[in-house]
């Protein structure tokens, strides 16, 4: 940062700069007589507009520092022609034209630029002819083959008829069709360097080389200029809106006004390279080595003295559509914008603290170490008699016109009106330590805030209030009296409210009990506002607290001073910026989300960019009677004159790049991304030539994000591992001063699936899987069927065999037995035997028949075992003639037919054995079910047998074997205990006897098929 934009002024070290043009001598005013005021410095505030300035140089991306030409295209881009090439500028970044293009520029030095009425760009080069750059970036060169016999193009102009004029080092050309035709007839325009072409109000084309020639109505007319043609080189021509004609030459500036005669402009020294009239009427004059000048209202002022234009050379001047002025210099590109802040420097600036307040006659007092009276843009030191040696902290003007002065540790002084005349000493109040500020209430009390508590000065004396009295904290930062006469005290730790002679608590004091309350305001609607040092603004209305912070659009969470002007606009100062916000948005019922409060930021004028605003004492801001606001800074008093209309223009957001896994993709609609994009990044930028500090972005990836996401400072949105699908990336931008002016850019794209993510593949997979499953199932089924068929076949064979042999035989025998029986007398002993045989035969046939069925049968019906046992017992009782009883039979169900059958068969065998051999008196049957385990016991009191002896008898041996085999077949055991002479016990044990249990514990045999 270098220098200032004022004509005259102080640099930060206070060194006086030379006064250049029309110095404004501030009027001395008769200020109150007791103040001995004298101008420490004669400070002049220029009436010319002050500018904020931004510069770009090669380190910022400018191709080269020598900027020779500037033009803005219809899209809003600024094209910058340098000695090192052509670049397109979007307000933040330079995109070189020749960058990577095959068709790079034939020559680097771009001397002049033009956007024609079709919107396409023309560039005149130093030795490379005339270039035409289409909107798609195709460059066409016009050179000797096209009629342009000189390759040094120094001026291009499109007149009101759409004709394109080209001035070269070797004459003037007019574009006809695709050819360039030399138009300077001998004698009219010399074969000299045509550096300036323009059109005047009469639609004459003015051509400047060594001479000035007007072309019009088919003829060329030389305009005589003072001086010798041979020594002259015209660099620029300006036909101003008022009809005046400005000619910039190597020797200086010639001006022809109403009288028709050219006069040399004495103020401008040196070669005038650039002339431009901006929309506000100002005529800008760029010299080589002698600075940039502005002519307005009849006076010339030098702009950007002391280094705005680093080597004091302005090669080109351009005004964009939003009325920002761009200066091409030999050392970079500069942008000038009208500043809305005027800084009035103090003779002795102070970085430590500062307060500001109202002085009589609408003037302002600013106090740092000393007090200064600011009037008409000039700050003058104020001297207080008797207080010369004291360091003054704050000055407060009471309603009666008297003045309170607060000092650093030396108490407070009241300079009453009466004492002024008498020049008597001011009245002294021994209030210790540092005085923060004064407040006179509507009751006529004066309250004094200090760093050790609050003092009240009444006619009766001085009262002190501290923490012990209910004050939130001893270090007081702000004081305010509301409309009801309540006093609000903001401290470094909490807020206090003085109501009817006592500190009271309410919602606000409770809510802010830890805040550093540095500013208090009651707005014109009666709402209370509290500005805090760390957490933004708090609104107190209807007994409810509402906080506003950066999240709601505040510029900062630091609030030094909050003011409201008479239009209702709120003004906030923080440590670095002054901003304003419209009343309606802050008064709204609920704060806006996503930072959409319209905050207008006011930039400090050039030269004061690093200004620190001061806070923590009051007042840290002042609303003057003329409805302008003042804030204390370490550079002096900042006066905001402008309205709060915010920045000009609207940032136009563009998507400038798409990166997929580190590879840059073209920004086109309907982009098809191959499968497996791990990282996708969209970069976006605003096309906005104004300051971009207030530009905000938000973006959303439709199809992925649910809501808009605010973009940080990165200007990039990154997504990782997006699932396949169709998406739309949208980005919006706006400036914080106009959150309603939204621009949007969007790009559609689709993320392809991996082949295995396609629906048909998945379907195919499912079908294949199903197919495999079905195949496996059918194979299994076939296996089962085959096995079953084999089993069935085997069983059928067995059944057939049994039928053909056993049953057939048995029925035959049975018939024979019946025959014998029918012939005999049943009463004989043989007859009885025969009957037994007959019965046994019938039973055998039944058994055999049933066995055949069991062989064939797969399913098994349940059997009622207790019932069957009872039937067996009855039958045995009849057959054996002794009581066979079921002693203890548990009720049971779930015994399968086959299992039950085997059990019954074993039981019957056991009973038959007992009856046949042991001669018992009784046989008892019991069947006990323990859980799923079944025990069937047959006990008799017969003779018993010795087990070893049993095995000797073949019949019994086989009987027992058969019984064991039956039990084994159903997975049970058979135990026979017999004591000779005292009976036999046959115990059948079967675990998991029920069907359910059997299914869980597959037995070995029963279901092996």
């Amino acid at each position: 940062m270098i220098g200032k934009s004022t004509v005259c002024g102080f640099s930060s070290n206070g060194r006086k700069q030379s006064s250049c043009a029309g110095p404004y001598w501030s009027r001395r005013r008769a200020i109150a007589g007791f103040i001995i005021c004298f101008a420490l410095q004669q400070l002049s505030l220029s009436q010319t507009t002050r500018y904020t300035r931004t510069t770009w140089r090669s380190q910022d991306g400018l191709p080269e520092n020598v900027v020779q030409s500037l033009v803005q295209d219809r899209d809003g881009y600024l094209w910058v022609g340098t000695t090192g090439g052509l670049a397109r500028f979007d307000g933040a970044q330079f995109t070189p034209v020749s960058d990577g293009a095959v068709e790079s520029l034939p020559v680097n030095s771009i001397y002049c630029l033009l956007v024609d009425r079709d919107g396409t760009l023309w560039a005149g080069t130093d030795g490379g002819g005339l270039l035409h750059i289409s909107s798609s970036g195709v460059i066409k060169t016009y050179a000797a083959p096209d009629g342009l016999t000189d390759a040094f193009v120094h001026s291009i102009y499109e007149d009101s008829n759409g004709r394109l004029w080209v001035g070269t080092a070797g004459g003037l050309f007019l574009k006809e069709g695709e050819r360039l035709v030399r138009t300077d007839a001998p004698g009219a325009v010399d074969r000299t360097d045509v550096q300036a072409i323009t059109e005047n109000r009469e639609h004459h084309i003015l051509v400047g080389s060594s001479r000035l020639v007007a072309l019009g109505a088919g003829q060329a007319r030389k305009i005589t200029l003072p001086g010798n043609d041979h020594d002259r080189q015209i660099r620029s021509i300006l036909a101003a809106t008022d009809g005046s004609l400005w000619i910039g030459t190597d020797e200086g500036l010639l001006l022809r006004q109403g009288d028709g005669r050219f006069q040399h402009v004495a103020e401008i020294d040196g070669a005038v390279r650039a002339l431009r009239q901006t929309s506000d009427g100002t005529i800008w004059i760029g010299t080589i080595g002698k600075g940039l000048w502005a002519y307005r209202d009849g006076s010339f002022t030098r702009v950007g003295h002391a280094g705005l234009i680093p080597i004091e050379t302005a090669l080109c001047i351009y005004e964009d559509v939003d009325h920002r002025v761009w200066i091409g210099t030999q050392n970079g590109l500069g942008r000038l914008e009208k500043s809305q802040i005027s800084l009035i420097p103090l003779p002795t600036p102070n970085n430590d603290y500062g307060t500001i307040g109202g002085a009589p006659n609408g003037d302002v007092w600013m106090v740092t170490q000393a007090a200064f009276h600011v009037s008409d843009g000039v700050a003058k030191l104020m001297k207080f008699p008797g207080l010369n040696a004291l360091s003054i902290r704050t000055v407060y003007r009471a309603k009666d016109g008297s003045t309170w002065v607060g000092t650093d540790g030396h108490g407070a002084y009241h300079l009453a009106l009466g004492t002024l005349r008498n020049r008597s000493a001011p009245r002294y109040y021994a209030i210790p330590n540092f005085i923060r500020g004064f407040l006179e209430t509507s009751h006529g009390e004066t309250w004094v805030a200090t760093n050790v508590g609050l003092y009240r000065i009444t006619l009766k004396g001085v009262d002190r209030y501290g923490v012990e009295d209910g004050l939130a904290h001893f270090n007081i930062k702000s004081l305010f009296e509301d409309r009801n006469g309540d006093l609000w005290i903001g401290t470094d730790q909490g807020l206090s409210r003085w109501h009817n002679g006592a500190f009271v608590q309410d919602t606000a004091t409770e809510a802010l009990h830890t805040e550093k309350v540095w500013s208090i305001l009651q707005d014109r609607r009666g709402t209370m506002w509290f500005g805090t040092r760390d957490h933004g603004l708090f609104r107190y209305r209807d007994n409810r607290i509402q906080q506003y912070s950066i999240a709601q659009g505040l510029v900062s969470n630091i609030v030094y001073q909050l003011l409201q002007d008479r239009t209702g606009r709120f003004w906030i100062s923080d440590g670095e910026t002054i901003s304003s916000m419209p009343e309606d948005e802050l008064e709204g019922d609920s704060p806006r989300r996503n930072g959409t409060l319209s905050a207008t930021i006011y930039r400090m004028p050039y030269g004061d960019d690093g200004v620190q605003l001061l806070g923590g004492r009051f007042l840290s801001g002042y609303l003057a009677p003329d409805d302008t606001v003042w804030f204390p800074t370490n550079h002096g008093a900042a006066h905001v004159i402008a309205s709060g209309e915010g920045i000009a223009g609207t940032p136009v957001v563009r998507i400038v790049g798409i990166m997929r896994d580190g590879v840059s993709l073209p920004v086109t609609q309907g982009l098809q991304l191959p499968a497996g994009s791990a990282r996708l990044a969209f970069s976006f930028a605003p096309l906005f030539l104004g300051p971009q500090g207030g530009v905000r972005f938000r973006y959303i990836l439709e199809g992925f994000d649910r809501d808009w996401l605010p973009a940080g400072s990165g200007h990039t949105a990154t997504y990782t591992n997006l699932p396949a699908g169709t998406y739309r990336f949208r980005v919006q931008s706006f400036d914080v001063s106009h959150p309603e002016r939204i621009t949007e850019a969007a790009v559609d794209f689709s993320q392809r699936e991996f082949f295995y993510q396609f629906w048909w593949f998945r379907l195919l997979g499912i079908v294949a899987l199903l197919g495999c499953g079905l195949f496996a199932y059918s194979v299994h089924l076939r296996k089962v069927r085959t096995r079953f068929a084999l089993v069935l076949e085997e069983r059928s064979r067995l059944a057939r065999e049994m039928h053909d042999t056993v049953i057939q035989g048995c029925t035959g025998v049975s018939t024979l037995l019946e025959a014998i029986s029918s012939r005999r007398d049943d009463s004989t002993e043989d007859g009885e035997l025969l009957d037994v045989a007959r019965t046994q035969m019938r039973d055998t046939i039944d058994e055999a028949r049933r066995a055949v069925w069991n062989l064939r049968r797969n399913e098994d019906k349940e059997i009622d075992l207790p019932c069957s046992l009872a039937a067996l017992a009855d039958q045995a009782t009849r057959a054996l003639g002794i009581p066979v009883v079921c002693m203890q039979v548990d009720p049971m169900s779930g015994i399968s037919g086959s299992t039950g059958h085997e059990l019954l068969m074993v039981a019957r065998e056991a009973i038959a054995n007992a009856g046949a051999h042991a001669h018992p008196e009784w046989i008892r049957i019991s069947a006990l079910l323990e859980g799923v385990d079944l025990t069937v016991t047959i006990v008799d009191n017969g003779t018993g047998f010795v087990e070893t002896a049993v095995s000797g008898t073949a019949g019994e041996h086989y009987g027992l074997i058969g019984m064991r085999e039956r039990m084994h077949r159903i997975g049970g055991t058979l135990v026979v205990r017999s004591v000779s002479g005292s009976g036999t016990e046959v115990v059948m044990k079967l675990r998991h006897a029920t069907v359910e249990a059997r299914n869980q514990h597959r037995p070995l045999i029963e279901r092996s098929q």
Partner: protein, 209 residues
């Protein structure tokens, strides 16, 4: 019991011992006489024609055909022929078929000789004789378990363990047709799969091994 004339009986059974036993039982009875014994369908029909017995005891399982066939043929020639089935089968379909064919009684082999005599007497006198197990089996027969000829063929082949394709080839019908037949068979037998159908068919005497 009043005096009656001799009942002439034809015994049809392929098993000689059975025939001998029955003959022995009947020969000892006054008023009963085994006039002839046959071991097959053809022989039975032939001997019936020759002897014209009062009552015929007919086994259903015969080497050259089914007893029901013999009953039909005999009844065809002599509609008033009195026939008692004497067999090892007690399936409802057997009984049904036999009774349909014209049998008047139905005995299961292994019965007491008194029952045989009783049955012969009752049938001889024009009454039916169906012992309790037989009537019970008959009552269990489902009314619509009547299979068509083709269905019966299919069922026989299922019981024989043939696959659908083999059945189709054997009967010269399409496999799909076989399937539709099987569907009907399963429905008629009130079963859910062909295994149950096999068991049911055998049990009820629809098909014999």
């Amino acid at each position: 019991m009043k005096a009656e004339q001799t009942i002439r009986i034809l015994v049809v059974d392929d098993h000689p011992i059975t025939r001998a036993g029955i003959a022995a039982i009947l020969q000892s009875r006054p008023g009963m006489q085994v006039c002839a014994q046959a071991g097959g369908v053809a022989e039975a029909v032939k001997l019936f024609g020759e002897h014209n017995p009062d009552v015929t005891l007919m086994d259903l399982r015969l080497p050259d055909g089914h007893g029901v066939e013999a009953i039909r043929r005999i009844r065809h020639g002599n509609p008033s022929a009195k026939i008692i089935v004497l067999t090892t089968y007690e399936g409802d379909e057997d009984i049904h078929q036999a009774l349909q064919a014209g049998a008047m009684g139905y005995l299961i082999k292994g019965m007491p000789h008194e029952m045989l005599v009783q049955a012969l007497l009752r049938v001889y006198h024009g009454n039916r004789f169906l012992p309790p197990p037989v009537t019970r089996a008959l009552s269990e027969r489902l009314p619509d378990s009547e299979l068509s000829h083709r269905e019966h063929e299919v069922l026989s082949l299922i019981v024989a363990g043939k696959s659908n394709r083999e059945i189709g080839e054997e009967l010269h019908i399409k496999e799909a047709t076989v399937k539709s037949h099987i569907t009907v068979i399963l429905m008629r037998l009130n079963v859910t799969d062909r295994t149950q159908a096999v068991v049911e068919a055998l049990k009820r005497g629809l098909v014999h091994l």
